[in-house]
Subunit: 226 residues, 2 copies
């Protein structure tokens, strides 16, 4: 599960639109998937757990507003980012949309540049990158764009999983991450790995970082603290 690979689900009934958006998002390094109606959107939202859902308002089966309402009513999707697409003149939808809990709103016809900037603005606001994703904590700097870690003025080279693990923990200093949470975030929901895998990675991190910043909470999980 990559760092940049924010997953975006795009739902629209017009294949052309779908394609343009997908093309442009993938160019920027996002992972994408698509749905062509409301029901499919709901299903894929559940199965793929995207970070952002771009919803056309006018769709067969269920329209975007309905989809949004259903999602928002479930705790698991309370924080998913949602952008509505809609016809220019459709002012009412705009209002309804934001009322329903959308995070932003882009009107058709779509300009890819506009959409992209909204998307990245949204991620930035939600503190999920790309862009301002550097974590800086006292003597430790973690830069996922450069894939570099600076600990006490010396550059530390981390392998992929190590890096992602550190990034996760450091993203919310002081907060405890359950083992399960870590597995889901770093390894992905569907990947099954043995129970000791996390330990080993934690150990390597502590070793490589050379500073005591990861605390074990027995029977619960780990937390990052400086």
């Amino acid at each position: 599960m990559g760092l940049k690979g924010k997953k975006v689900l795009i739902a629209d009934d017009e294949p052309d639109i779908l394609e343009i958006i997908q093309y442009n998002l993938e160019r920027e390094g996002y992972e994408t998937s698509t749905a062509k109606d409301g029901d499919e959107a709901l299903a894929k939202a559940k199965s793929e757990k995207p970070d952002l859902i771009i919803l056309d308002i006018m769709m067969p089966k269920k329209n975007g507003i309905e989809v949004c309402q259903i999602l928002r009513s479930q705790p698991a999707f309370k924080d998913v980012l949602i952008i509505f697409l809609t016809a220019l003149s459709d002012e009412t939808s705009h209002i309804k949309g934001l009322e329903t809990g959308a995070d932003d709103y882009v009107s058709k016809p779509i300009s890819p540049k506009v959409l992209l900037s909204r998307v990245s603005a949204l991620f930035r606001r939600a503190n999920k990158g790309p862009g301002d994703r550097v974590i800086q904590l006292e003597t430790l700097t973690i830069d996922p764009d450069r894939y570099e870690v600076l600990a006490n003025t010396n550059n530390v080279t981390l392998a992929k999983k190590e890096f992602e693990l550190l990034y996760l923990l450091a993203s919310k200093p002081g907060r405890v991450f359950l083992r399960n949470e870590i597995l889901n975030q770093v390894w992905g929901n569907d990947v099954i790995v043995g129970g000791r895998t996390i330990d080993v990675h934690i150990r390597k991190l502590r070793q490589k970082l050379g500073m005591d910043c990861i605390t074990t909470i027995k029977g619960v999980g780990y937390k990052f603290d400086l």
Copy 2:
């Protein structure tokens, strides 16, 4: 030389339109040249290196979209500003146009005011004069206008893909490019090439440049660093 000193190439098969646009742009201080079909547009783009190209979609020889695609496929024109002109109702073209990599889109009948504001907005956004495309990093110079690379005082000749790959990486030194990003940017996301293709090009680059400036990050991608 006008106060703005920006060169604009206008391509349209209707002399009237050509004249109106040219007149208005020159009033604002732009240098202009014109073409009346796709082939002429391509030729003049190459010979005159304009900063902005205004392309009518419907043209003899080659239509605007074709011209745009051809230009965009060449590194030298990857960043030229392009505005499409088209008939109002032509929604499909709009989509196709932006997909093809146009920067903006103005529909006929043209209002000079609208066009001028779009043009200046575009330049404001782009905010870069000619010559800005050269990348200069310590002992390495990459010039996409001349298609040349200077590494440690010796001229290195790169093939097209090699050059584009290097240019991409060097455009953001230190930043990691995922394999997917590289594929999308250099190859285009509709082209399907095997996974090892990037490796080979990276290898050739390292070989030809004779300097150790490309770093592999296993499982993630590559980055350029000096």
